[in-house]
Symmetry: C3
Subunit: 341 residues, 3 copies
């Protein structure tokens, strides 16, 4: 990563104000940046941090005053910073080549330019695509597949048959394809409902650490293109998550629920079974969606059980005033105790 301010501005289609030859060798925050690191400034509140940084080049809006800096002028500096990062930052190296200790079944197909780390186990009929990286201690079960340029950080488990698309990133400790939690009660005990479906994860999905995605019971659990899932999330059997939806940490989605595309689930949200979160809906942090409910397209909900955001906020404000309401009611009662209707 050795570029000039000119090259970065050209990549972004941005206007340059300053030294076009200024070297850019990395990205950083203002406090830790070296002279040749690119920083960004997207709010006047942080102007002093940028001005005082050692960095010579700043991604910023046209009205940012940064004397002595080379400015690369864009409308959305943070977005531009992320775009430059995607362009310039090297891909993480999770493994190099095929480590001698990897246990790879004879019937597995590993692309010649894929990498597999120490002590990884790849079972019968599994497939590892071109340029994919499988970290140390990963387990790729029989018939599972990892698409091209995907990255499994160390210690990811794919149960048999789990299918991951291209450029999927899965962080350490995550389990994909475990049995769903389905039982039928009878004759005084629980009988396991068969959990023999599959898991299909499309392209450009990223999944955090220690998350669990169960396989479908009879059908498939499906995560669509571009979905981002945080750490410690629970995705139950048969769940479907639509394109470019985002699910924050410690959220749980129960069996057979559907999250449509472009939805946002905050942290610690609980979604009951057989719910539908329609396109673009937003569930605030900690919201609870009752089993079988639908959150309508674009709606914003909060609370447990969840209600439309504005309603919940109004109700919760009155909740704070309950002692006052009760006192006022009491006064009215006293006032009226002598009167007759």
């Amino acid at each position: 990563m050795n570029r000039t301010a000119r090259e970065v501005a050209d990549y972004l289609g941005a206007r340059l104000d300053g030294d076009p030859a200024a070297p850019i060798a990395g990205l950083a925050g203002p406090e830790t940046a070296r002279a040749e690191d690119l920083i960004y400034l997207d709010s006047a509140r942080h102007a002093a941090r940028a001005a005082n940084a050692a960095a010579k080049c700043v991604l910023c809006m046209a009205d940012a005053r940064l004397p002595g800096k080379t400015r690369i002028i864009v409308e959305q500096p943070k977005f531009a910073f992320a775009k430059v990062a995607a362009w310039l930052l090297p891909l993480p190296r999770v493994a190099n080549g095929i480590h001698a200790t990897a246990v790879i079944a004879a019937s597995a197909r590993v692309a010649p330019d894929a990498a597999v780390g120490p002590y990884a186990v790849i079972e019968d009929g599994a497939e590892i695509g071109a340029r994919a990286q499988v970290g140390a201690h990963c387990f790729v079960g029989a018939g599972a597949s990892v698409g091209e340029s995907s990255i499994l950080y160390p210690r990811v488990t794919l149960y048999a048959g789990a299918r991951l698309g291209r450029r999927v990133v899965v962080h350490s400790g995550t389990v994909i394809g475990s049995d769903g939690f389905g039982y039928v009660h009878g004759e005084g005990r629980y009988w396991k409902f068969p959990q023999i479906g599959s898991v299909e994860i499309a392209d450009d999905v990223e999944i955090g650490a220690n998350t669990a995605v169960d396989r479908g019971a009879l059908a498939a659990t499906q995560i669509a293109t571009g979905v981002k899932i945080d750490n410690l999330v629970q995705i139950a059997h048969n769940v479907k998550v639509g394109e470019h939806s985002v699910i924050a940490a410690q959220t749980g989605i129960s069996g057979s629920s559907v999250v449509e595309k472009n939805a946002v689930l905050g942290g610690q949200v609980g979604v009951g079974d057989h719910c539908t979160i329609e396109e673009g809906a937003i569930c605030g942090g900690g919201a609870g969606i009752l089993s079988g409910k639908t959150i309508r397209k674009g709606q914003v909900v909060w609370g447990r059980p969840a209600r439309p955001l504005e309603k919940f906020k109004e109700q919760y404000a009155w909740f704070a005033r309950l002692p006052e309401l009760a006192a006022r009611l009491r006064r009215l009662e006293e006032k009226l105790s002598g009167t007759q209707p």
Copy 2:
């Protein structure tokens, strides 16, 4: 798994209506079933899905009209389906034989017909019972034991001394026997309270992925026969869970609490320390039980803090009407502003 409709009906003690020789080679959902897969129909709502399925045999109730299908007639089709699955589906194969790379201490006792996967580590004095399967990358600590026919999916950790009964199934990423979260504050810092107890898990327990079951502090954490625990659940030190109780995903049970038999804890429930959830009680999803509280036998509670379900629902309905109540109160106050008591 190659049976006939007759054999399946006989196993269930069910009436057969149709072709007794119809082959049954698998179980499936209506949409993905092949001709020789068994499907079930337990609600008139799904009748068209069953009628349109390629499957020739259907487990259903007597009143289901499915022209052209061979019907196996039972009172509880979903339960019958689970029973057939338990009978016919092969056990998962998590390991085959003792893999050459498994590190097994000389003093460990592994049954000759047990299986241990690649890179599993089994320490001093540990025991692996007959027909048990220990997956790749599992760690079975010193003196820990895995009962006969139990299955540890890849990457399960049993700390030293953890004891699992027979036919126990533990999914990937789960940790059993980690130290409880017990500290005593003194002299300006926290001192670890000794966490030197044990964990005992009885027969026929199933535990999901990435769950944590702590060892007891001085006594034992105990999970009784037939308990089912989902993914990402926290079971703290000294907790006791009674027979055939069910604990859904992301629920946490704090130290020294007791869940009696046949209880049901929904997802994301929080149980404080030293609680008792009595026999057959049900805690709805997201319920919060305060430390030291008892939920009485058979009671159904909801909310955080939890209250009896019907009461909570009534209260929560009024919560929604708080703005209206406040407005009505205001009107009364205005009406009375001129009057004297």
Copy 3:
């Protein structure tokens, strides 16, 4: 661990009443103690349990009547018990020597008296300090470091560059240094915000099982000295946790929030992004702190969204009486329906 009552009393600076030569060979709870185990009694409620125990020596307060026992008299028996445990219990043995199967990069520096278990992987430039123990299946990424006398239980992942201090204990399944959940939406999809910061964990920190601590985005995620973190906790990017704070199971702290020193977060707490939990503040179990909020020094809060404890309790008590309040309001309305203001 073979001591006498005299030695233990001397260590604690405690008064001894009974046999100074009574042997102490372990610590236990009253029900499981052998004659030579030390037990403690810190509440008159449990006096019978102590009196009936086989143990000959009891840590107790001066007023505890325990005929026939040797009493070691202290003001805080439970604290004294923890102190004795820290003094006498052997450190856990997670690994012995450097196992032949450990994959250790040539450029890694492992102290001669450190221990590394089977199948551990230690990458380029990583450092393992004196007397540190790295359990089986651990992954220590490039440039990561583990301070002296620290313990990684089996199957801990340290991403590249994660830094752990001295006497840090990390339980199985925990992931330290995974990418934060930071994306910027643009051009119809999410772009990853660079997650290239670090994680710094100071001395005497203990972290439970299956927890996730993300690296900083551009700066560092920092956990200060003496912090205790339970199982299944989420610590997001850029979070700072101050000295001797305590975080119970399944709590999540969102990006860039600060928990100052000596704070206590109960279980299943949710802290939004950019919050400050000031010194000594307490967030009760399940509390939810909205993004950007500050909980003031020493304040105790509860509820979701969180409010000062006493206020929340008062409000929640009235919540239970909402049906009654509504009925009283209705009666007033009826009474007034004939009157004129």
